[in-house]
Amino acid sequence: MTLVAGVDIGSTTAKCALIEDGRIVGKSLAPVGVELVKDAERALEQALAEAGRDRGEVRVVTGTGYGRFKVTFGQFTVTEIGCHAKGAHFLFPGTRLVLDIGGQDTKAIKVDPNGEVVDFAMNDKCAAGTGRFLDVCAGALGYDVSQIGALSLGARHPVKVTNTCTVFAESEVTSYVARGKDPKDILAGLYGGIVSRSLSLMQRVGVEPEVTFTGGVSKNEGMVRTLERRLALRVNVSPLSQYVGAVGAALYGLERPTGVPA
């Protein structure tokens, strides 16, 4: 019985997953703030609290995410690419392609039957097509990003959002609102745009079922449906999709001989 932890310090949120005997026994999620080291600490503490466990019981802590080097109390760091692959494989063993859309970037990762990374592609530094893009556009519509998922489902005449730049898109959305467009249709247009950009990344590594969608944006139902429609495939989405990176990180810790020095 080994208790391991994965801490994923993303651009937007800090996540932690605790794993024991192939089961997730605790998790936490909180926005990242100014002090990443503290955020990482807190993520672990909260997950431990949820699981009712003690810090001393954790054998290995693995850090991942863009702030992985701030998990200073951990033993390993692994890139989020490896972790999303591993985590997705754990949740859906048939996974061959992972699409991860987080707060600041989008990645497509091709994995082999053992959950190992075969190939990956990710976007350049621009907020277009990421979670942040949706956050901003949701704001322009007067919603919180957690509300817009279901909202688009009944869209009938999706508008064409021509701008990819988040800032320009935000005003485009505002002007659609001013012109009385249905938020459903605006959202459908936004999703269509993000999905086609993601698709181009996915094509880069090759689309092959099963596809697992991870990262915070996968909590958006409208995005999931749009992706499925474009791929003409069912897409795996776990209720734990935002934790996939942290889960993968924890699993990496398990594969290590215990006590490897940091």
Binding site: S11, V32, G33, V34, E35, L36, Q104, K125, C126, A127, R132, F133, V136, T164, C165, T166, V167, F168, S171, T174, S175, V177, A178
Partner: protein, 272 residues
Amino acid sequence: MITCGLDLGAGTIKGALLEDGRQLLATAIAPTRGNPVDGAHRVLERMVEEVNVLPDEVDYLCTTGGARYAFPDRHLQVSDITASARGAVFLLPGTRHVVDIGSQSSRAMSVSETGRVVRFKMNEKCAAGAGRFVDRCAKYLQVPLEEMAPKALAAAHPKMISSVCAVLAETEIINNVADEIPLADILMGVFLSLAQRAYILMRNVGIQPEVTLVGGLVRSEAMVRALEQTAKTPVLADPRSHHAAAIGAALLGHARLEKLGGRPAPLLTTSG
């Protein structure tokens, strides 16, 4: 003759009333939020109230800005580049080079002594380096816009921001805060990073004195200093130059009206 210029921008609506193409009677500003046409009406109302004229005593109305076609009751519309150049030269006649930074736009133009645009260059696809970036930074750092400049000017070692993406800069700023970089240095870094973007545009059209900053960023003295530092040339700013495009539109409206012998053409009621 009273002419009105309305600048329907992405961030704010600005208006200017001009008498005989010479005297600035009033200016007004309102946030765009949603429907720019409503905002423009409000701005117009405020100005006519202020100078105590009736709306139909305004002889000619010229719109400019991104939503210039959306305002139906106009006689003419002109591009905001043309307009802000005219406005800048009206306010500061020695101007030969105009830098215009608005909420989503940044432009540089070289202008003739009459305020005619000779050459210009603008950002197109990416809003990095526009005012929106400043707004967001103000939000993350929890410093009101008005207080940014005085704070920034105290910077000893400004910290440049590499990504001026209005949206992603947040992460970098958070890192800077985490690294305990003084607030003043971060703030000045914001303006300097913006200035660097603007400088690329400025060089592209060729810098010749005098250089004038217009658009929303003139409200920030730190921006003026940052531009001076980056472009190594004095930069003029007039407190009224936030309204440069509106003033320019009013001026061009006046010129047009004169050409028509004082009788305005019918209103254009089309939009788009």
